[in-house]
Symmetry: C2
Subunit: 190 residues, 2 copies
């Protein structure tokens, strides 16, 4: 009698729970509604700090996080800061890299592909004449972002490339960065 | 004889250097070209890590940063992670908060307004049926982001509101998140 050993955890992702989550949301679509949050506080000059902890998801306020995450931002000397953290545009590159990578790893797990390495380098080109208000011919943000992945795993190149492409089609941050999101800003000032 | 004391450092920003930088770029516009970079490595499951250090700006490779910044990302349990870091969408909220805040502080410094407090809370709404591939009626990313600032300083409310508005018009990440950026993704797969 043959024994089938099902590999449940693949790439560090519990695929049984992954498919269970998908089934749960299929059965009750309102479980798919999430709200993520961040609180930021200015600490002087280019230094500000974000704390992240609570969020809403799967039908309730999530209280599972033991601690809050604290993220600092800053600017390098040439942009009048003192390197208290990566600058905001670099933080956006981090968000993009992290999301594409997570999407790629989850997609591979769901498709039975075992990954051994996922690395990426990102470059964003910006002419600061835009953000500094010197020349409106330049936008404030990056003109273009290049992402270069190195992906290794137990599937042929064609399948790995397909997973990279699928990750782009399903990445939350890739969607936001490429397509844009409406943002409302309100201020209480005194 | 009256003595004029010029406050050079305002809000932690050296305004003399700020105006000096603006003049330098006006005189030699190619100094405005910057390239920011990030390197990300998958560490297992939803855990990946970005390192940030070198960048190009003001006509040369910048080597002023003594250390690299290390940023972790992860997912909470409900999204199959183990809270190794904020999730990528939360990282994007951090980037947005940090950029709006820095822009606001620099604009206020340039306009002679002394700030005493800048805080913000951000919320992003997302239905994960999009990113999970369950319902294409939902986008992958946030449907909408709300930013609420509390700003205090030595100027009347109207002027503080004007500074908040100006910060939006000059923020690199606000531009990218609201208008989108072209992103190319390449992969070397084996």
């Amino acid at each position: 009698m043959a024994t089938t050993i099902t590999e449940i955890v693949r790439n560090g992702v519990d695929t049984e729970r992954l498919f269970g989550t998908l089934d749960a949301i299929k059965g009750q679509p309102t479980l798919g509604q999430f709200q993520f949050r961040a609180r930021n506080r200015w600490l002087g000059g280019a230094h500000n700090q974000t704390t992240i902890r609570d969020f809403y998801g799967a039908g309730q306020e999530d209280t599972s996080r033991a601690d809050e995450f604290v993220l600092d931002a800053g600017e390098p000397a040439i942009l009048l800061g003192s390197d208290t953290g990566p600058n905001p545009a670099e933080c956006l590159l981090h968000a993009l890299a992290a999301c594409l990578t997570t999407s790629l790893v989850y997609v591979a797990a769901a498709r039975g592909v075992k990954l051994t390495e996922v690395e990426s380098t990102l470059e964003g080109d910006m002419d600061v004449q835009g953000a500094l208000g010197l020349d409106d011919g330049y936008r404030n943000g990056f003109e273009h972002i290049r992402v270069a992945f190195t992906v290794k795993g137990d599937a042929p190149e064609e399948k790995l490339q397909e997973i990279v492409a699928r990750a782009q089609r399903r990445s939350a941050v890739f969607d936001m960065v490429t397509n844009g999101v409406s943002v409302t800003v309100e201020a209480e000032a005194a």
